[in-house]
């Protein structure tokens, strides 16, 4: 199959799967359809690799309502990496979600899996978008498709969270992102993602600075402060949603957008020459420090993880704004590494909730002995987020530090190291509580001593797999590095590639 067909399939498969499963009345067939859809999608995404590796960049134009403004798809390494992460983790989340939703007797499960499938289709669209406007369409589609998931519980709390979610994401995207896209179009006459960027020679340094700031804040999903509030608000959603969407698909779509705009709209040389990234760089540096400090104060497990995500996303933005090869590679790796680590943590949080209905960290004393797999996985995920070997997270942090050193941002290096310390401070005590504190007396009565009482198997297996994934990513860090190299070798000869 040709590349355009495969890219189109990545959009169609989740949509068809989503529609199919709405017609199922039997819960088992419905779940099988979800699972098959997810697996087939992952295979199709893998099928795109040979093409991208051999340097094909055939575009697929879906429609062209305004001359020079098409809806088009085009695969390139960054997008493919994002698509792989999202579709691969979708399989695990589906397995996990089935266990979680049934374990909790959640209502409206069909709507849940339907919206989930639509969200994945939108994420694929973002990954393969060939220009800004296509990306924008799928970006908005993702916001709208995840909204029913955030408000899934339907109580007043969920509705309030949903309003914040929709309000911030829609406001920033229309107010800033769309405006920046229009401005770019007016300056350059195109919105196509072009290796080496399209703004070079079309925008003055001041305009570039304003534009990049607009783009970064406009991508509300990247959760730069002060537009990060939607992410903690979205935590009212069921845990599988938090795990895949608010640790992987949605937030990564945000930082991926920033990364892609940096590389293919501005071009890293242009940003490095004009210093267009200055404002965003320091906002991101502030965000990653401040979010870690806020995370320390949160007792609710999911809230702490949410603030941790806010902080970790800013690593990607920092990497993009450094505008050098090490920074961009670090940023791209951080997308994959953080996804794997954070989804593990959320799976664990959900497993703890299913097994014990506990949501606060202060209630977790001694649970490690009852749920050893969960807490071991939590430990592995935490180490990966912190960025220590032998976990995947070590690579991204390493490249980000290298990038900062290349850009001679010594203060930034200090902040990144400080943030790593803070990560240790807010993540490891959770594991410590589980293993080293005794079970409170009133809880101990509920458990038979010396036995393991884990969450359902559907929940435990995925989280063990993602924890293993964190280790695997460390071993295959080199492969990812090689894969991302073409982003720069193509970027060097500036000018239109097609």
């Amino acid at each position: 199959m040709t590349m355009p067909t495969l890219m189109l399939l990545t959009l169609i498969i989740p949509l068809v799967g989503g529609v199919l499963l709405t017609f199922q009345t039997n819960a088992n067939t419905r779940d099988i359809i979800s699972l098959v859809t997810a697996s087939v999608l992952f295979l199709v995404v893998l099928g795109i690799y040979p093409g991208v590796l051999s340097g094909q960049s055939e575009a697929l134009i879906l429609a062209e309502p305004i001359t020079g403004l098409a809806f088009s798809l085009q695969a390139e390494p960054l997008g493919l990496l994002f698509a792989t992460v999202a579709s691969g983790l979708w399989i695990l989340t589906t397995i996990y979600g089935i266990g979680y939703m049934r374990g909790n007797n959640e209502t409206n499960q069909t709507r849940f899996f339907f919206c989930f499938a639509i969200s994945i289709a939108a994420a694929m669209g973002i990954a393969f978008a060939g220009n800004l406007i296509t990306l924008f369409v799928f970006y908005e589609m993702l916001t709208l498709a995840t909204y029913p998931l955030v408000t899934h519980k339907g109580n007043e709390d969920a509705r309030r969270g949903g309003r914040v979610y929709l309000g911030i994401l829609m406001f920033t995207s229309i107010g800033f992102l769309l405006f920046a896209i229009l401005w770019t179009y007016s300056l350059t006459g195109t919105t196509d993602f072009t290796p080496g960027g399209i703004l070079q020679g079309n925008a003055s340094p001041t305009i570039a600075l304003i534009l990049l700031t607009l783009f970064a804040f406009g991508t509300g999903k990247a959760a730069l402060m002060p537009f990060h509030r939607w992410l903690p608000a979205a935590m009212v959603a069921p845990t599988p949603v938090s795990a895949l969407l608010h640790a992987v698909a949605v937030v990564k779509a945000g930082v991926f957008t920033v990364l892609k705009i940096t590389v293919y709209v501005f071009g890293i040389d242009f940003i490095a020459d004009t210093g267009a990234g200055t404002i965003v760089l320091w906002v991101a540096a502030f965000t990653l420090t401040a979010a870690s400090i806020v995370a320390l104060t949160k007792d609710n497990l999911k809230a702490r993880l949410a603030y941790s995500t806010v902080g970790q996303l800013s690593y990607v933005v920092v990497g993009a704004m450094l505008a050098n090869a090490a920074g961009i590679i670090g940023a791209a790796m951080q997308i994959a590494m953080h996804a794997m680590g954070k989804i593990t943590l959320f799976f664990c949080a959900g497993a703890i909730y299913v097994a014990t209905h506990k949501t606060n960290i202060s209630q977790l004393d001694g649970l490690g002995h009852k749920m050893p797999f969960t807490f071991a996985a939590f430990f592995i995920g935490s180490v990966s987020i912190i960025g220590l070997p032998p976990m995947g997270g070590a690579w991204s942090k390493w490249f980000l530090l290298m990038g900062s050193a290349d850009a001679q941002q010594w203060i930034l290096i200090g902040l990144l190291l400080l943030s790593s310390l803070l990560n240790i401070a807010y993540l490891l005590p959770i594991v410590g509580r589980g293993f080293f504190r005794p079970l409170p007396a009133q809880d101990a009565a509920q458990y038979t001593a010396g036995t393991i009482q884990e969450a359902p198997i559907n929940c435990v297996v995925p989280l063990c797999l993602t924890a293993a994934g964190c280790v695997a990513l460390f071993l295959f860090g080199d492969a990812i590095y090689e894969f991302l190299q073409p982003v720069f070798t193509v970027a060097e000869p500036a000018g239109p590639a097609q």
Binding site: E140, F171, I174
Partner: protein
């Protein structure tokens, strides 16, 4: 054979079936005749579009008398597009009208209502295709008079006041336009528009022509509802009977806008209107004020009908702004938005009429939870609302895109930012409705509300699907609009 007579046929179909309709006692039969006539006109309008496609102009001489003595009918791409707008959207509204009228008035009155409706449509078609300035006035009066009658048919007694207010304002507007045409005739001795266009430039410094221009501007601004002459619009839209609003919102102001473009660019000429009389200095600030005020007021309405009416004030501001920016993108946006907005607003009012048909009120309180009781209607409403906001892949996005591009082409960044802000306001007022429809509990008295009959639901969905279609395939909207814009602007340069 028949294709050469199309310009006359498209007008006569509705004009002649109107009196016949009024003589049929049975409302259902009258409706069938009206349906037959309007859908044939739709076909005629599309046939005309295909004849002028690419930029040809058809000139048809009524009764074989050559212009400038006889009455000339001129159809070019712009008028063909407006023709499609009037006939297609009018026809869709009429299709829903039979079911929708049932609850409003007794059936033996229906035929009179259809007759008025057809007359109004015929008049609007007449305005669009005529090449004669005085005919424009005549048809404008016919359309206004029939509109007053349509509005006054509302059950609500306040409809009478609204109709009366509209009558006063409309008459002032029409009189001003008549004075303007009279002045032109005084100086040039001709009423044919093409002829006027040729003769006027030599009288550009004539004070009478300048006065004529001033009268015309004020008169047409009243009809288009340019801020601050928009006050008749919210009331007229709010109190008109249900589906009628859909037709009025789609056509009346749009046709007035068409007349405005036609006269400013073709009759008076770009050179005279903008370089000499500085019309842009007047229209740009006014349209911006209209956009902001209209959107802002819309946000604070609790009656959805009134909310949509105020949104119309803002949206008309977009179109006038597009005209006043005086570049290709701006004019393209104005013409495209004229078509797109007609479609979206008609759809929205029709969907709303469907809700009123079941719930009996257009107050947000009564529409709470309607997304659950009337899922199909509400879904269409949301699609159309997304179009109004300007979400990509809907028609509204296309016109907004051109408008913001026009502002950026001029290098007016603050204006572009302002337009984005106004989009956010649109988002706010649509979100308010969506929030009520989906996230609030259904009031007790509306628990057993169901979706409307297919005969209303189908036109609503046609509007919604068209909104998406014209967001993707823009050959007929933006494509035509761009050619029209280039033609209109190149006349002067």
């Amino acid at each position: 054979m028949i294709s050469t007579q199309l310009p006359a046929i498209v007008l006569l179909l509705t004009l002649l079936s109107a009196p016949i309709c009024s003589m049929i006692r049975n409302g259902d039969h009258a409706w069938k005749l009206a349906m037959f006539a309007v859908w044939l006109s739709v076909a005629a309008a599309f046939a005309l579009m295909s004849q002028v496609w690419g930029g040809t102009t058809l000139s048809y001489h009524m009764g074989g008398w050559p212009p400038p003595w006889g009455i000339e009918v001129r159809v070019d791409e712009l008028s063909a597009l407006v023709l499609i707008l009037i006939t297609l959207f009018g026809a869709l509204v009429i299709s829903a009208l039979r079911e929708s009228l049932r609850t409003v008035m007794r059936s033996h009155r229906h035929s009179l209502y259809y007759a008025t409706f057809l007359l109004c449509m015929a008049a609007l078609i007449g305005i669009t295709i005529t090449g004669d300035a005085f005919n424009v006035f005549v048809f404008l009066e016919i359309s206004s008079l029939s509109t007053y009658a349509l509005i006054a048919r509302g059950r609500d007694r306040r409809a009478l006041v609204a109709a009366f207010r509209y009558l006063i304002m409309g008459t002032i507007g029409a009189t001003f336009i008549l004075i303007a045409i009279g002045f032109m005739y005084m100086v040039t001795g001709t009423l044919n528009m093409a002829d006027l266009a040729q003769r006027l430039p030599e009288h550009a410094d004539n004070k009478v022509i300048q006065a004529s221009f001033a009268f015309f501007t004020v008169g047409i601004a009243l009809k288009v509802a340019v801020f601050p002459l928009h006050y008749w619009l919210p009331n007229a839209y709010t109190y008109a009977p249900k589906a009628t609003t859909a037709f009025l919102a789609a056509t009346a102001t749009k046709v007035a806008l068409y007349v405005m473009i036609r006269f400013i660019f073709d009759v008076y000429g770009v050179e005279f209107s903008f370089s000499q009389m500085r019309l842009d200095m007047l229209l740009i600030p006014l349209s911006i004020a209209g956009i902001l005020l209209g959107s802002m007021t819309a946000i604070f309405q609790s009656d959805v009908k009134r909310l949509l009416a105020w949104s119309s004030v803002a949206q008309l501001g977009y179109m006038v702004l597009g005209v006043a920016l005086l570049n290709t993108s701006g004019l393209t946006s104005a013409v495209t938005h004229m078509f797109n907005h007609a479609m979206m607003k008609a759809g929205l009012f029709l969907a709303l009429a469907a809700m009123i048909y079941r719930v009996g009120s257009s107050n947000l309180r009564d529409l709470a939870g309607i997304g659950r009781t009337m899922p199909l209607t509400t879904a269409a409403f949301v699609i159309l609302g997304a179009g109004l906001v300007g979400v990509p892949l809907t028609a509204g996005f296309i016109s907004k895109w051109y408008l913001v591009s026009a502002a950026l082409d001029k290098g007016w960044l603050p204006l572009a930012a302002l337009l984005i802000i106004s989009s956010l306001m649109a988002l706010a007022y649509i979100a308010k409705i969506v929030d009520a429809a989906y996230f609030q509990p259904v009031p007790d008295q509306h628990q057993n509300v169901r979706d409307v009959p297919v005969s209303i639901l189908t036109p609503v969905w046609v509007f919604a699907l068209l909104t998406i279609y014209f967001g993707i395939d823009t050959r007929m909207t933006a494509g035509v609009a761009e050619r029209v814009a280039q033609a209109l602007l190149s006349v002067a340069s």
